[in-house]
Symmetry: C2
Subunit: 433 residues, 2 copies
């Protein structure tokens, strides 16, 4: 076999993942050459501070202070964008690189969730690839699985645990019985959560990833703005204890699913059976399940973040491109991507977990039950532990399948009852296997 | 995007999987065209009996009685070999098709386990692909994951549940408490096991798959003949009950692992923690776990057999080839595949489960313990239920890590004791997470 010319990378951003990629290429040079049929070389790097010690030897590479210069370099076949952010420098660099006929590899889910359709078109027009395995679920090769491995399927659903921070927190809350704020602080001390945790715990990060998965699954333009999104801040230790008692775990689930020919796309904490495949995925692990008309279901589990796993996914893209593999960004030509037709989520049907904070008085249960009945919501089970007359107690119900609009209207009505103290806590029950 | 010419398939063999592929292409024509950038067409089919009703309309395709003729057809870009068997017609067809510059897709693990290195070379010399996603673990896209998704890793191990029939039986034995023969008959009645089950329950099927996974993982020639292989016939209801009591499940595991720079490759029933990721995979599901130096661990779970899942994997190959994706058969050029250097399995180290059938007499435990001690095997735990003086009882031990050669020598010595009635049952304990 004749060795082709080296595949030359320019790396923009030398944080954890960028450094992981540099290490991988330095360490696995011969292995990569054997697998790609050509050498993989870093020619140029760029980051904010050239004097910082990053624990890797960068002396063999050209340094540019302005990452945007990578787009114009003649010694780069592929720009690896590890800068982050959906606008500004990252967006400019990716746009310019594609326009100049350079492949782009990125781990930047925000960028693609917001500008994916435009950038996919730009890549195609310039006959280059826009690759992003590392943008979704860290080391889990879900883009490849969904876009290639399951490509013979009409996909009905793709869903899973897409944010490791949230999953770590949900797991720790369950194992320790402690509440959100306490576990968040611990996660921050351990480096699993950022100082400003909102991106992880409010669902944006998982939402960006889900928007991309939905685009691949359904051949639609990524649409982050239409996502229904609820984070995990409202999940209390009390809810976790009740869920456990009922045989469930609470997971922040991203779900994209075809319902009656339309698409549902949501991020929300859900109750899943504790022995389901997804329910068993704890800690910092991510898991994505795909349901297709031929394959049935397929599940992939792996580490959702960190230098090694994320670099592994970046390298998967590097190797693909060095091997000459070019797959449309979202699985079909950019011009064929449709505007998704979203389902009115109020019309979706599900079982629900409902926790009320009520005064322990005669008649409360009768009042609540009547409201639910009047809104076509049927109670499946019911728990109230202990008695505490005239004090505040938790009243927990699970419902049979109900329309979201109905149960939300019921919750609004329940909140107006005198014996109900606070906003009800409402979560979907996903009957996964 | 300009549509290229159609990608034309000739299908040899119209059993369950072949028919599944025909259905998929008939049903998903437009979807496939969008994903591949060209139409996928079946031009020619071949099977033993042209008059048989297979539940699909074959009238639009040319029929040839002799599958070997597909290799010479001018209207075929890719031969899909679904005939089976490691020699004879399947081997001739694949050899001739590759020689004539046609891509080949096959689900034939036996063929590749025996002739993989030769056929990979032939494919390469003729600049075509030999694809086999469906040969390993049904609908699980493990070839793609290992050969592409995790290609940035130096792989330390690949292991898992590779035979659905065995896993169904192990699961059913555990759930019902019944013994091997009874469950085998039930599996045969349900169509999960063949009339002659040896291929599944004696490990050959899993062995063929493991030989291919090891080749990809380590860049070595597939070597089925060197596999250490033990099937599940020796696993009794008694063993399953003891394993359960100890917190384990018994799974037929295929394991390929680097140990001290050499490679271990084995199929054997092992005890795995019941809450480990692999331990939780029950029934007809398959699961493969990959351990790499960057990704840590990745797990893929899905249906291991059946028309839909297996057709899904064949279609993954079809789509790859129609998209122009060509990856070396075993991940690196065929000429670079090394002869694997196998570890002497006697030197491998593991904890063990050991069940003895002994006479319940004073001194038995002392005798057995002494033999183990003399062979450097240290007992971790010990169970004997009830007493039954002078009758046969089960004595179960787990050991700390011991060399396989030592514990096998100990078993040989134990078997010569007067109080020991039968050959000891010995299984590895795999401390998976």
């Amino acid at each position: 076999m004749i060795m082709a010319e080296a595949f030359r990378l320019g790396i923009a951003g030398l944080g954890t993942v960028g450094v992981g990629v540099v290490k991988n290429i330095q360490q696995h040079g011969d292995l990569l050459a054997a697998r790609c049929g050509r050498r993989v070389e870093i020619t140029t790097v760029s980051a904010r501070d050239s004097s910082k010690d990053r624990g890797v030897d960068l002396s063999a590479y050209d340094w540019v202070d302005n990452a945007e210069d990578l787009a114009n370099s003649n010694s780069i076949d592929c720009v690896v964008e590890m800068i982050g952010g959906s606008e500004g420098l990252a967006l400019n660099l990716v746009r310019n690189s594609l326009s100049k006929g350079k492949h782009v590899i990125t781990a930047n889910k925000a960028l693609l969730a917001h500008h994916g359709a435009e950038l996919a078109k730009l890549a195609e027009d310039n006959n280059v690839s826009l690759a992003y395995e590392a943008a979704i679920a860290g080391g889990v090769p879900i883009v490849k699985a969904l876009r290639e491995g399951f490509a013979g399927n009409d996909v009905q659903a793709v869903f899973g645990i897409l944010n490791g921070t949230s999953n770590y927190m949900m797991t720790a809350m369950r194992e320790t019985g402690r509440d959100f704020d306490e576990i968040l602080k611990e996660a921050q001390d351990l480096g699993y959560a950022e100082a400003d945790p909102s991106f992880d715990v409010d669902g944006d990060d998982a939402g960006h990833k889900l928007a991309l998965l939905a685009a691949i699954a359904f051949g639609t333009k990524p649409d982050f703005k239409s996502l229904e999104m609820t984070g995990i801040r409202g999940v209390t230790a009390v809810d976790i204890a009740f869920a456990t008692e009922l045989g469930y775990k609470i997971k922040l689930l991203g779900i994209a699913r075809r319902v009656n020919g339309k698409i549902m796309q949501s991020i929300q904490p859900c109750l899943v059976p504790e022995n389901s495949k997804i329910g068993r995925v704890d800690g910092v692990f991510n898991a994505v399940q795909v349901e297709g008309d031929y394959v049935g279901s397929g599940l992939i589990v792996g580490r959702g973040a960190g230098e090694g796993p994320t670099a592994s996914s970046v390298m998967s893209d590097v190797i693909d491109l060095a091997r000459g593999i070019n797959v449309p960004t979202f699985g079909i030509p950019a011009n064929d991507l449709k505007d998704p037709e979203w389902i009115d989520q109020g019309e979706t049907v599900s079982g629900y977990y409902l926790r009320l904070d009520v005064l322990d008085q005669p008649g409360v249960i009768a009042d609540v039950s009547a409201v639910l009945r009047d809104h076509n919501v049927s109670i499946e089970s019911f728990i109230q532990h202990g008695r505490d007359p005239d004090q505040s107690v938790a009243l927990v119900m699970t419902t049979h399948e109900a329309k979201q609009a109905d149960i939300k209207a019921a919750c609004d009505a329940i909140q107006t009852l005198n014996s109900v103290n606070a906003e009800p806590c409402l979560m979907r029950i996903e009957p996964l296997e």
